[in-house]
Symmetry: C2
Amino acid sequence: MDKKYVVGVDLGGTKIYTALVDLEGNIVKENTIKTEASKGEISVLNKVLETIDAVIEDVNLNEIKAIGIGSPGPLDVEKGVIVASANLPFENFNLVKPIKDKYGLPTFLDNDANVATLAEFMFGAGRGTSNMIFITASTGIGAGAILNGKIYRGSTSNALEIGHIMLMKDGPRCGCGNTGCAESLGSGTAIMKRAKEALESHVETSLRNYDKVTAREVFVEAEKGDKVSKEILELSLSYLGIVVANTINIFDPEMVVVGGGVINGGKIVFDIIEREVLNRSLKTIRENCKIEKAELEGKAGVLGAAALAILEGK
Amino acid sequence: MDKKYVVGVDLGGTKIYTALVDLEGNIVKENTIKTEASKGEISVLNKVLETIDAVIEDVNLNEIKAIGIGSPGPLDVEKGVIVASANLPFENFNLVKPIKDKYGLPTFLDNDANVATLAEFMFGAGRGTSNMIFITASTGIGAGAILNGKIYRGSTSNALEIGHIMLMKDGPRCGCGNTGCAESLGSGTAIMKRAKEALESHVETSLRNYDKVTAREVFVEAEKGDKVSKEILELSLSYLGIVVANTINIFDPEMVVVGGGVINGGKIVFDIIEREVLNRSLKTIRENCKIEKAELEGKAGVLGAAALAILEGK
């Protein structure tokens, strides 16, 4: 029977989003369920199986090519093992085997940055490219790379940790223990921290009108003209722009796709990124490289898991 | 007839170094000639042909698999064209075609950083790896990458410009026009500039005993205990170490091979690089990655050109 579909599973700490997807990236049937991570690894595994059952109930198993799963890492991609995860109960847990065994289908696992990269490459802004970098800026800064038409994983499946390239010696402390990482300077968390520092000082800012300030409120108040919010964004986004510029100089890609919560902050985000790229990346490389907004956002995980199944299921 | 040899040409601004090389990377016959770049492009082309003639005179053309050429760039590798070069007279000059036409052999061109990377990968410190980054620090900082067993060139053949990743906002001006590039902070030129600044100030330093101070003298005086020289090296080499650490976080390689004039500065160079890598690269990636000294140095260009001929000549 012709293989018409794949299953994509976006496994997150809050929810599991699973879809039956055709080979052109159209979602045929989808199912979302709360992860309830605190109930432990077997419970979460069963929920994954439940969502897969729900999306494949109307089709024949023979019509399904493969199953792809995107998960937070670190993972052992080869073995299909979740090594550890901050928001999931898994520790050295082989997630692929029980799924493969149940359905008798090829099953593949990759980390969430890589599947989002695959999603934009196959179904989103990066269609048609051979060398494409996907950068996501939200709480942290993550990335994935398509090089010569294939996802590049590195030797331990941990490549593209561009959130942890150092951009300021003796800069702010990063979650990884190092100082001055890109993530500590240009992420949504960096914006929020700078807002907090401003509120703890005596400067005048409309951010004081909120009970709780996150990156979102800084974008809102900057848009309304608050000087402090504007300065925070100028500084933080310039570092995000530097990340993009450095990435362009390193990979010489045809396209950088930028996604994640920060890019919903409006025109200012891409204005600053483009300015930094213009000032800081080499002309011959830059002139060949487009910077595009991610297209898939909330569906990047599930479609990327589907893309993984399509590509690896060959 | 069995293909037993390739020809490697290391085309530099000062000299042309050409060798007949067997498929295991042993130099069978070699020839060096002054480039005399000022005499123009046809003169230089003829000298390249002359060196090739000299090294192949004792063998049959049928025994030669291919010719490889390493040249400063920017190049158009696909077309075999030297687009421009600071130290060579070529401008949009097709160097490959006349060589291919004369000998009837497959002929390939690549930039000097890439051929040096290929040399270390095939015949030097990087033998047996799949993902290896070669970083060279001398006047500038250059690099090349072997990813999944192949040289990674990027979309315009200009990838791995890690000398121009920004490491200090509003840092020193770089030759590329940007500020705070790795090259302006951690290269031999950066060491020399800091020495010059020290000499222009009123600090006490044994660097004053020299008529002309380059990176070499700074290494010599630091070794002898000069405090200013030590401080200059500590600062400059820490940035070189940061380049290595950032590269490890980005590529997740099995090995980083470091070459170029700066690495001949003694134990202090690798001590500082290793310290920065320990402090600034992610544990899971770092623990899988070796840092090695380049093995081929002066022969990297000619052996890399030979490696290019072996790999591309298939």
